[in-house]
């Protein structure tokens, strides 16, 4: 297993992250406009711009600057935003709203999705299955930011039960924080729940046709015991595979959802940076989100290989 992990790291993880970081770095570097001149403003003289370029290290060759940029990013220094603030501080301030939302939406969505999927799978063809099927079809069809906008309109304008914008810390004021979290969580987690529910249902339906289920029934186990002790675990395998995909959806989704509910998270920071052409901030957030995504995809694959040893040679070719 350890050699498999190492092989995955060296062969797939490292190259992708290196190329992605080069891409993120070079994209911003190729842009027209001199960051030194922008930092100094319109009144800068050529001499002062040249001095600033030297100070910012812009007169060095591109590969050297890339290595420096990545090196200091790994050490936790993500550079300075064009607003003059430290990008690391900007991100540290905006990470909690994003993380708490993503974490809660992910957990709730998976719990709800697995429950619904198992229910639908057991009652295949029945009214419960139909009702869950309609729910998942609706949720999957309508994009989360559009349904988010509609529930925002309903619950903050038509009946003003909940605040429409902002965020309060869950740790210091749980009740207040929860109020701000309800709507975005509903919008984000329902999509996760719908996708997971479909996968779980199909998987349960497939597993229930196996001989070992018939054996379990034949030896007199109750329906509930068959599901919980025999069917649930093997049917979770395909569900695990989509965790990585879901996370990608959550990262992308939270960028838009934060905009819908005006939550001061990393998504809003990113869009603000795009609008004000704040490239150091854009680079830093993209690098962070991409690395997170790649790490979680890797973890998903490893988890899957650990759960199902048959996949190990297939995933990482021997050698």
């Amino acid at each position: 297993m350890l050699s498999y992990v190492l092989r995955r790291l060296v062969r797939q993880f490292a190259p992708v992250i290196v190329i992605a970081s080069v891409l993120i770095f070079v994209l911003a570097e190729l842009l027209p406009g001199d960051p030194a001149a922008i930092a100094l403003g319109e009144t800068a003289t050529p001499e002062s711009v040249a001095a600033m370029r030297h100070e910012m290290g812009l007169d060095r060759p591109l590969p050297e600057r890339y290595v420096r940029w990545l090196g200091s990013a790994i050490e936790g220094d993500l550079g300075r935003s064009t607003t003059g603030k430290s990008v690391t501080e900007l991100i540290t301030a905006s990470a909690p709203p994003t993380l708490e939302l993503a974490l809660i939406a992910f957990t709730l969505g998976n719990l709800l999705g697995i429950t619904l999927g198992v229910l639908a799978g057991i009652h295949r063809g029945g009214p419960i299955d139909m009702a869950i099927g309609v729910f998942t079809s609706l949720v999957i069809a309508v994009p989360s930011f559009v349904s988010g906008l509609v529930i925002l309109l309903v619950f903050t304008v038509w009946v003003s039960w909940l605040p429409s914008a902002g965020r309060a810390s869950l740790l210091s004021s749980p009740l207040e924080g929860a109020k701000y979290l309800v709507l975005p969580t509903v919008a984000l987690s329902s999509t996760v729940a719908a996708v997971v529910s479909r996968f779980t249902r199909q998987s349960i339906v497939d597993v229930l046709t196996n001989d070992f289920i018939r054996t379990a029934r034949a030896k007199g186990l109750s329906g509930r015991a068959v599901i919980i002790r025999h069917a649930l675990k093997p049917s979770m395998l395909p569900v695990v595979t989509i965790i990585g995909v879901q996370l990608g959806g959550l990262i992308g989704g939270s960028i838009v959802i934060e905009q819908v509910f005006t939550r001061p998270g990393m998504g809003r920071l990113l869009i603000g940076a795009v609008n004000s052409k704040d490239y150091p901030t854009i680079q830093a957030i993209t690098l962070l989100l991409v690395s997170t995504y790649i790490v979680f995809n890797l973890l998903t694959d490893l988890l899957y290989a650990w759960l199902d040893p048959r996949l190990r040679p297939a995933l990482g070719s021997p050698g």
Partner: protein, 303 residues
């Protein structure tokens, strides 16, 4: 010139299923689709939406840009079925044009992206070796950017606007189409007709464009509509983030963005584009469900 190989090629073609579809077949298909209540409902809604987006702008003479003094944020009425916006412009026509422009930019951007992606995938699959490694690794890298992030990054680079939006959506579509085309070529390349075409002296591009392309057409025909729908969603999302086509041109995303800003004063402003996106997506999803059940006998009758 090469009339000899040409006629031989024609003889070598295995079942060319996609050529010369008689008009009766799609009509019959449409009728079968309409016998399912979900299919009929979805088709009706789609038809209404298409009329709304493509006929209304031609028939209605209201200008989408004209501001009438004193008609700011009006409630829906006979004169303005969807109300008016903060600049006293008619929202009915703006939604219609916004829907059309979002649909069209999705269509063109996806087709552009897929042409590039399919070429790359064909090259990678057919050539193999270094070309395959280079193309596949680049595609892997693009796939490392989750969801909408790649499009946001590209727009950050190009600057917001219709051109950069289309480019971003086209690039966004390259990874998937490349993988699809590569897999299709790898599947086809072992067939006898490819060997036969190569034997009579067809060049690589001729084998790909005249023989492989026809036999892999089905794969793309199924996946392309899904990609277009997904891209339309991304376009709407980017428009909502303020990164799409810039004002005063209406887009669905832009209307959602402005509607969000004025939702306390004018609920109809936000509700109209949100409903259009929701209804459009719902009907397309229903249609695709019915279609896949019709085309897949195994799934038919299974709940």
């Amino acid at each position: 010139m090469d009339t000899g190989p040409l006629s031989m090629e024609a003889a070598l073609q295995p079942e060319r299923r996609t050529t010369r579809l008689p008009l009766a077949a799609p009509l019959r298909f449409l009728r079968r689709l309409a016998t399912d209540p979900r299919g009929a409902g979805a088709l009706t809604v789609l038809f209404i939406l298409l009329v709304f987006g493509f006929i209304i702008p031609l028939v209605v003479t209201t200008s989408p840009f004209e501001s009438v003094r004193g008609e700011r944020l009006l409630h829906p009425s006979w004169k303005h079925p969807f109300g008016t916006d903060e600049l006293s412009r008619d929202l009915f026509i703006r939604n219609a044009i916004g829907f059309r422009s979002t649909l069209l930019s999705g269509l063109f951007a996806v087709v552009g992206g897929w042409l590039v992606g399919i070429s790359l995938g064909y090259t990678a699959g057919y050539r193999g070796g270094l070309a395959d490694t280079l193309i596949s690794r680049s595609v892997d890298t693009l796939l490392a950017f989750p969801g909408i992030l790649l499009a946001v990054l590209l727009i950050a680079w190009f600057g917001p606007g219709l051109t950069s939006l289309s480019l971003a959506i086209a690039i966004f579509n390259i990874p998937f189409s490349t993988r699809l085309a590569r897999a299709a070529v790898l599947r086809e390349i072992v067939r006898d007709y490819v060997l036969a075409a190569q034997t009579i002296g067809c060049s690589g591009s001729r084998v790909l464009l005249r023989h492989v392309s026809i036999n892999t057409f089905g794969v793309f025909a199924v996946q392309l509509p899904i990609a277009i729908v997904n891209s339309i969603l991304i376009i709407a999302a980017l428009g909502f983030l303020g990164l799409g086509e810039q004002p005063p041109n209406p887009t669905l995303g832009g209307l959602l963005f402005d509607g969000r800003r004025f939702m306390r004063l004018a609920w109809w402003y936000l509700l109209a584009p949100a409903s259009i996106v929701a209804v459009f997506m719902l009907s397309l999803n229903f249609l695709s469900d019915v279609l896949s059940e019709m085309l897949d006998p195994v799934r038919r009758g299974r709940g």
